[in-house]
């Protein structure tokens, strides 16, 4: 069991900055994120895009913002559970919480801060009417174990990097690989596109373009798909159908935690501390909503700062504390580092 003071769900910019503000109050943090790396949308969707409305940064790349935040919070030694999605929450008798991920990792904390942004990133599922009934019996949206496809006949759909890369990889594993894409053009790294072309010329990958999978076939397991090309359709046999259309954020299991939801976001008390309807659970950043809410990184930073003060009071109800300026108090890390303003030398003139 991982124990911490503030358990932060979501390692985007708001979640990361929470570690800093909590650290100033000597509170330790642990972050859970479904993505394998910190940074949330900034790292996953637009690392190379500039942001212009971070105060005092006329321009900063989203990826650099994340790198800087990671550097800023380093002294506070946050823990990370990455690549796992927060699944369930159980309130304990003492008012603390145990949050368990989809992989079974348990986290225990007196305060939970949901900084989940738009939710966790899940594979985009194509709108094929019967596809849900074939999940785990031949339809997979994520390739977890390529060995599953050893000597099997596999159909992949999609036109981006992951569809191209997995087609190339599985060409050596599967008995047959067919790649179906709606356009004749693929958008991916040039060498991936060239490699697919080469494998196609060698007859090791079959390309069906421009075409779309419109139906999945089979009784107890997938045994084929229906493909629409032009005005006609035809069936193509396969053992596995793997749609790879990238990731999209979904609020996911957090939506079932008994929190008040409005406009696909978690309602909080913005007049006070961004607490949800469940005391001890806060929601900050893009995941929350309140009158006048703006989904901006700078608003997330503000919400994180106020939330930490409230969390401190919740954890230490009998302690008195006032906010200190870092310029006055410096920053003392849990790793023994100390940053502080140099003392001015005052010298009288004779």
């Amino acid at each position: 069991m991982i124990k911490t003071d503030i358990l932060i769900i979501g390692a985007g910019p708001t979640g990361l900055f929470t570690v800093f503000e909590a650290g100033l109050l000597k509170l330790k943090c642990h972050l859970i994120d479904a993505l394998p790396q910190p940074g949330g949308q900034c790292s996953e969707i637009y690392p190379k895009k500039p942001i212009y409305d971070i105060p005092a940064f006329p321009e900063v790349l989203a990826g650099d913002l994340v790198d800087n935040l990671m550097k800023q919070i380093e002294p506070f030694q946050p823990g990370f559970t990455l690549g796992e999605r927060a699944q369930t929450i159980d309130k304990q008798e003492d008012g603390s919480f145990i949050v368990t991920t989809n992989k079974g990792t348990k986290h225990h904390a007196p305060v939970v801060a949901i900084a989940g942004g738009l939710g966790s990133f899940e594979p985009r599922k194509p709108p094929i009417p019967n596809i849900a009934s074939y999940e785990d019996i031949g339809v997979e949206y994520i390739i977890r174990d390529p060995e599953l496809y050893r000597d099997k006949n596999v159909i992949i759909a999609g036109g981006g990097d992951s569809a191209l890369d997995w087609s190339i990889f599985l060409a050596d594993v599967a008995s047959e690989v067919t790649l179906v894409h709606r356009r004749n053009e693929f958008r991916g790294a040039l060498d991936s596109v060239e490699k697919v072309q080469e494998l196609k010329n060698q007859g090791r990958i079959k390309l069906i373009t421009p075409a779309e999978v419109v139906d999945v076939l089979g009784d107890t397991h997938v045994n084929g798909v229906t493909i629409k090309q032009g005005e006609g359709t035809f069936n193509e046999p396969c053992d596995h159908f793997i749609p790879l259309f990238g990731l999209a954020p979904k609020l996911g299991p957090i939506g079932d935690w008994g929190l008040e939801i409005e406009k696909n976001a978690i309602k909080v008390d913005n007049s006070l501390d961004y607490q949800t309807n469940i005391p001890g659970i806060y929601a900050i950043g893009d995941v929350n909503t309140y009158p006048g809410k703006l989904k901006l990184i700078l608003c997330g930073f503000h919400e994180a700062t106020l939330m930490c003060q409230s969390a401190y009071q919740r954890i230490f109800p009998d302690k008195r504390y006032v906010m200190k300026y870092t310029t006055v108090g410096g920053v003392t890390g849990f790793d023994g580092t100390k940053k502080e303003a140099p003392k001015a030398v005052v010298k009288a003139i004779d």
């Binding site: 356009r183 990238g246 999209a248």
Partner: protein, 109 residues
């Protein structure tokens, strides 16, 4: 300030004729959000970077619209429910030439 008229059919099939400002650097996705014609969290998820297709719409009038960027084209290649007249609302900046535009929002993915 000049406003133009745009008719937007929402995902329930209801048509709304609305005024869209041409001088606020707004795009069609933002206009839809400002009139709350689709629930928050179901449109403009990526914020308007042509990186999701939640603002996909079908252009039904014969307006000549700016050409698609590579980003928009690539996103629509991966999106679902795509038709020949599909565009991403976030990539259509409100311009006086769009007066009378008619669009229908694509279904939610």
């Amino acid at each position: 300030m000049t406003d133009i008229k745009i008719t937007i059919t929402d995902r329930d099939g209801v048509a709304h004729e609305i005024d869209a400002p041409t001088d606020m650097n707004m795009n069609l996705m933002e206009v839809v959000r400002s009139y709350e014609l689709a629930p928050e969290g179901t449109i403009g998820i990526c914020g308007g970077m042509a990186m999701c297709a939640s603002c996909q719409c079908y252009v039904e009038s014969d307006h000549v619209l700016p050409e698609m960027s590579d980003d928009e084209e690539a996103m629509l290649a991966e999106a679902f429910h795509v038709e020949d007249n599909s565009r991403l609302g976030c990539q259509l900046h409100i311009h006086p030439d769009m007066d009378g535009l008619r669009v229908t929002l694509a279904p939610e993915e």
